[in-house]
């Protein structure tokens, strides 16, 4: 029984050639090595437009994961056009990225700083390109879009002892209703689900998928053990959390109570509605460092899996947003909310002061609908467009990970 009133309100989408729809029509400016970062940032800043977003990859060495991620991000439904900025000598496969974007039907251009003649000439050429791209996108009119066409990701950051009692279970309720309405929902960070593996496996739609889920949490525990630290920050402890498995149990409640339909990896787009677990821990021996060095690395991977928007729960108080997809901030701690209300979309901490979980879940659901219809989230309105992408290594998912595909 869906506790959310069926409004039948249509969302506002931008149709893409691959059949997906976006809830934003962003021009992405992408640097392909740190050496092209400043020029790209100047193009974004001097364009003076909120819908021009900066993304990129800093490394000079080629990496299959980062190329795959950039291809997914540049062809994300929220992205309407892309300007690539290369220094010229880096290892990034810029031609493949450009071909992938062009094949998706999006306007794409490439500037190579060494060929364009340096900072100022590249900047001027970039501004001209971005202006034309925006003019082109402005001609596109929005089309009706259903909740069943949405992909919603969730992440937590700055968790404390209130997160698992208020914001996370409220997002879980919202997830249950979104999935009932046909949407795909993604939760993640297997390293923050250590201790929940058996309960999670029991929710898998097949025993084989359950076994894959248990194995991927084992992989995360092993990975973090070698790194020497679990995903547990000092602020977590200051907020009342003591152990990784305690933090995990709280984080886990974001997933709600729907059956788990699949286990995906960064860049895999859910094939249909349902609940999906995103495995963000690299395969093989630790090679490039910690799996996700900050919250935005997780957000970027959720976006690469097609997430149109992100539900971000926080107890200690995070202010981040993201490039490409809007971030909705659900604050777990009522004291934090009082301190940082300007950054928070939802005060889930009021559950501790007597509000009902379902009421907060409904508020999140209707916010998903309005942000997916063009309304700005708090972090969006404040101009937050954080982005981070680093080196990783993954093997493709096995056949048991997406049953009934």
């Amino acid at each position: 029984m869906n506790a959310v009133a069926k409004t039948n309100t249509s969302l506002k989408g931008f149709a893409r050639r691959d059949g997906r729809k976006g809830i934003r029509n962003v021009v992405a400016v992408a640097y392909l090595v740190e050496c092209a970062h400043h020029v790209s940032r100047l193009i974004v800043q001097k364009s003076g437009a909120d819908d021009v977003h900066l993304i990129g990859f800093p490394g000079c060495y080629p990496n299959k994961y980062s190329l795959e991620m950039m291809q997914r991000l540049c062809t994300h439904p929220n992205v309407g056009a892309v300007l690539l900025v290369s220094l010229g000598c880096e290892g990034f496969n810029r031609e493949q990225l450009r071909r992938t974007i062009a094949a998706s039907g999006r306007p794409v251009d490439l500037l190579v700083i060494q060929q364009s003649g340096g900072t100022t000439r590249t900047l001027n050429a970039g501004l001209d390109i971005v202006r034309k791209m925006r003019a082109e996108l402005a001609k596109q009119s929005a089309v009706p879009m259903g909740v069943d066409e949405l992909i919603v990701g969730t992440v937590c950051g700055g968790s404390d002892g209130t997160s698992g009692i208020t914001a996370n279970p409220a997002v879980g309720r919202c997830f249950d209703w979104l999935i009932e309405a046909g949407a795909a929902c993604i939760f993640e960070e297997t390293g923050e689900l250590i201790g929940c593996e058996r309960i999670m496996a029991s929710r898998a739609i097949t025993p084989e998928l359950g076994a894959e889920i248990e194995a991927c949490v084992d992989k995360a525990a092993n990975y973090y053990r070698i790194m020497g630290y679990g995903s547990f920050a000092p602020g977590n402890a200051e907020g009342g959390l003591t152990t990784l498995e305690e933090k995990s149990m709280g984080a886990y409640s974001k997933s709600g109570s729907s059956p788990i339909s699949g286990l995906i990896k960064p860049g895999d787009v859910p094939p249909r509605g349902g609940l999906y677990l995103l495995d963000v821990v690299p395969d093989g021996e630790p090679r490039f460092g910690f799996p996700n060095i900050s919250d935005n690395a997780e957000i970027v991977e959720l976006i690469a899996c097609g997430s149109h928007l992100i539900l971000f729960t926080t107890g200690r108080g995070s202010v981040v947003g993201s490039a490409i997809s809007p971030v909705i901030k659900v604050c777990a701690n009522p004291d934090t909310y009082d301190r940082m209300a300007d950054d928070m979309d939802v005060n889930a901490g009021r559950i501790l002061r007597g509000a009902e979980l379902d009421e907060v879940g409904r508020e999140i659901y209707s916010l998903v609908e309005s942000v997916a219809s063009g309304e700005l989230s708090k972090s969006e309105a404040l101009g937050h467009q954080e982005f981070i992408l680093t080196y990783k290594q993954f093997e493709p998912i096995g056949p048991a990970c997406l049953p009934a595909a």
Partner: protein, 105 residues
């Protein structure tokens, strides 16, 4: 929705042997644990845990009905349960002092 009228301690699951503070609670404040009035031995901040009953060393601590670690030492009812007396059964928790892991193992 007056905070003062709500019980200051939350029992999240009937099997739990810890309670969670719904708001900051001062030392000496009278609270109720399982129907019995009790004077708080220490101040507890919002979101922190205290022992629902006396817990022996190595007791599995249950929150949300699920194990969240084991007691390093015994504690009395009402005591703060945190890094100084509870350890992970998986991976040690970290503090800002990089040399110090809070688990002692």
């Amino acid at each position: 929705m007056e905070t003062g009228k709500l019980p200051p301690l939350l029992l999240l699951h009937p099997d739990d042997n810890i309670l969670v503070a719904r708001r900051d609670i001062a030392a000496g404040e009278r609270v109720e644990i399982d129907g019995q009035s009790f004077s708080m031995p220490v101040a507890i901040e919002l979101g922190h845990k205290l022992a629902r009953r006396g817990l022996a060393a190595d007791t599995r601590v249950l929150k949300y009905g699920a194990p969240i670690g084991s007691m390093k030492i015994a504690v009395a009812r009402g005591e703060h349960v945190h890094l100084h007396n509870l350890r992970s059964d998986y991976l040690p928790s970290t503090s800002r002092d990089m040399d110090k892991k809070t688990d002692g193992h």
